[in-house]
Subunit: 226 residues, 2 copies
């Protein structure tokens, strides 16, 4: 009867539209305040507060008090992974939604997945790294090769420094739009950071979409050209 972890408890947390919207917003990776999330979810502030309390209590969301602000963020990569997985089946089974408009197209091309790059460009990056042997899968985990290390250093990403962090550096994260893997982990996060700080792309203010500038697109394509 009751076996294993309690699925329904955590699923029910995501099962409310307001909370789902908040979690979607938090998939952007940046921490948000209660009022921002209330706006995002389309509910009043008290309602949002109640929901956030539940999300915290349920362990899906972490809160950091800072002065008179309280910043909410996803509790961890595992939660982000789950949200993406749910999005995957929602996408697959829910063609009754509005058909893919220009907005969805942007999401497909490139979007933020928690703190790294997903979508077609994310997958393209991942494929390139693996195909060129810059990323290799040894026994149990994905690690950059020596050539890969040099490749990243050319982008001012210090692989050695990231290695220190307790967080897994590389992960393959399954994509819901394209059905393939993209680069996750701290290395994925650093990669997205590079892309934005170099002005190749900016994060859309009201969605998780990542919109590339024309020059940024060229630079990115050139990076993968060989």
């Amino acid at each position: 009867m009751k076996e294993g972890p309690d699925l329904s408890r955590v699923a029910a947390l995501v099962g409310d539209p307001a909370r789902a919207n908040m979690l979607s917003a938090l998939m952007g990776g940046t921490a948000l305040t209660a009022s921002e999330l209330a706006l995002e979810a389309g509910v009043s502030l008290p309602t949002a507060s109640s929901h956030l309390a539940k999300l915290c209590d349920g362990g899906l969301v972490r809160v950091a008090a800072q002065g008179r602000h309280r910043y909410f963020a996803l509790a961890g990569t595992q939660v982000a992974l789950m949200i993406e997985a749910i999005s995957g089946v929602a996408e697959a089974v829910g063609p009754q939604r509005t058909r893919p408009g220009p907005r969805d197209r942007a999401m497909r091309e490139a979007r933020v997945c928690y703190d790294h790059l997903a979508g077609e460009r994310g997958v393209a990056l991942f494929d390139h790294l693996v195909a060129r042997g810059l990323l290799v899968e040894d026994a149990e985990r994905l690690t950059p090769s020596d050539a890969g290390r040099r490749w990243f250093e050319a982008l001012d990403i210090d692989v050695g420094a990231l290695k220190q962090a307790r967080r897994p550096m590389c992960r393959a994260c399954l994509d819901w739009s394209v059905r393939r893997s993209h680069l996750s982990g701290s290395l994925g996060a650093a990669m997205l950071d590079t892309i934005t700080t170099r002005g190749w792309a900016r994060r859309d203010k009201h969605s998780r979409a990542v919109v590339f500038t024309p020059t940024g697109r060229r630079a990115f394509d050139k990076l993968l050209a060989d």
Copy 2:
């Protein structure tokens, strides 16, 4: 506000305890009848029927009418993947549950994930295959090498035949107990089939656990010994 696929719709489906129990039961991979699922979920038959209608309607479950029986099964691997992901965070955030008893220990050691082997033994198998170069990750997907093909054929698994199927042959599926990947896809299913038909292990009747016989354990270990 409303962007991307509708998370809450599908999450809410999993959010009910009765439905979650049914889905857990279906993670065993075998199709079950409505009455079996009612028993599993601990609800009356009408209630179960109502839930199953919703699950079908929501696209999480497929039904196959066969005489006066109606067999229910998960709609696909993507759904199974999602369930595992949710289990993952439920496991991570829910230490308020009963502490890991012998039953949970069995689940950790080996269990069925939809139709393939998960848990420590599933991960051990996957690690061995990758470490020995029997499975290699080329540009975008995991494929058995020539040596791997021979390795599988020694177990009477015809890799060529599996390749024909429309279903992806190999997939890396993230594990909730151990935090690593195990072999999914039709090859993973064939592997589990081999293990059970050879009598190395049998599937527990009332859970997803896979219990190895002493001789089966030896045979399996020997398989991975090198």
